[in-house]
Symmetry: C2
DNA sequence: ATCATGGGTGTACGCCGTACACCTGACAAG
DNA sequence: CTTGTCAGGTGTACGGCGTACACCCATGAT
């Protein structure tokens, strides 16, 4: 009994004290494995070896936790490179953002959801947007044009353009999946496209498409479109 | 007591029987007012004057409910116009999708979330995508090019390109909002842009920007970019 | 007359976020 | 050295959620 007490004490003594930073990074880690649904205040507390309510001494509530996690992620995006023309600067930055989002697949959903819910983005996000605008401005964009540019880039600014129909490993299984022939009959164009893309006859939907290439293709298309609008 | 029984019976008799369609449209209505957070199986059941578990006779679970709601919404998008060149056909369709999404502001989030979770889109969404591909194909796009095109359009295909920083009425209030001068110091480019956009000195962030114009600007930019790639 | 069945009911379980009261140990002031 | 403050961890509890499971009952086929 004394042993137990001593050990408990030892554990207590060993445990590095909680902190906002520790909470946030544990939350990110928890979301990284198991997706955002696996992130609950209770599970997070358990991972940190602490009682759930302890977290509330470091984050106001779950939404603020999510905001903090977003800040952590945005902090992972490379700063803009110096000495580059605006197009490559934007390009590099967006690709860096994309890499971050590929490391944290749950992030785009959380970012979008929180962006819609919050009155204003967090300071960290604000600074990201600000410096992005700065790149355009330094590249000679008028205020009007940079405004349009930000809208054009839209979600690509943060590194994602919804991969709407994507390979789909690890998704919910589809009970009523169609046999290929019925597929071809009902959705001739999808099927045709899928066949052309996957030259091996794998699962008809989506695989075999180089996402990175597609992403850069789209990114460059819009960047070139913007470049043509410069005086 | 007999009265009560009779009245209950009358209610019972009056109530039009549940059906998947009735459940789905009630769910959409419930989400329309109060956002997607206000949509719970329990509240939905209450609206329909029924016990929660009754819903499960018509939808397998909440995710399937959401999928059904998406189908309802996609069904609201205008079919492609006949006798139009590909560009205007795509343009009109996407603008119709956008109108639907403005009617149901919660929809884009749900669509994105469910698209990520499901193995394959529902048949209704598949048909939408299929016919969209069909428009491009009829316009002379090669398979490769229409593939790129679908990626380029990305979320715009469904009528939304995240309005990342948007006017923000009805959002969570921001406790630590900055005074304008500090705003200008920390985020010079955002401030400059915001000042240029809102010619009246309203709240510095975002208002006074014509979303519809921006959306069409971006849409046309990408459509023009695609047009330049045609042989 | 019987019986199967589709659709509504009731109860119960385990999860969730978090309000609120409490404790405790470190540290500053006297 | 005492005393008081207080940041930070604890324990309990509440209301809401999705949904499994057992049930009942009216309808219509046999």
């Amino acid at each position: 009994m004394v042993e137990i007490a001593r050990q408990a004490d030892a554990v207590h003594r060993t445990r590095t004290p909680l902190s906002r930073a520790r909470v946030l990074s544990a939350a990110v880690a928890l979301a990284d494995e198991g997706g955002v649904d696996a992130l609950s205040m209770r599970k997070l507390a358990q991972v940190l070896g602490v009682v759930p309510m302890a977290l509330y001494k470091h984050v106001a509530n779950k939404n603020e936790l999510l905001d903090g996690m977003i800040d952590v992620l945005v902090g992972e995006i490379d700063p803009p490179v110096a000495d580059a023309d605006w197009k490559t600067a934007v390009r590099l930055r967006v690709l860096s953002a994309r890499r971050m989002l590929l490391r944290h697949p749950w992030a785009s959903g959380v970012i979008e959801a929180r962006m819609k819910a919050r009155a204003a983005p967090t300071p960290v996000v604000m600074e990201y947007l600000d410096s992005m605008i700065g790149i355009f401005r330094a590249g000679g964009f008028s205020l009007d044009l940079v405004h349009h540019a930000m809208h054009v880039m839209g979600s690509r600014l943060l590194g994602f353009s919804q991969e709407l129909f994507e390979d789909g490993a690890g998704r919910e299984p589809d009970p009523d999946a169609l046999p290929p022939e019925e597929m071809a009959a009902r959705y001739p164009h999808i099927t045709e496209l899928a066949m052309a893309v996957t030259h091996d006859e794998g699962s008809v939907v989506g695989s075999g498409c180089d996402d990175q290439y597609e992403f850069e293709f789209a990114l460059d298309l819009t960047l070139d479109g913007l470049a043509r609008l410069l005086p």
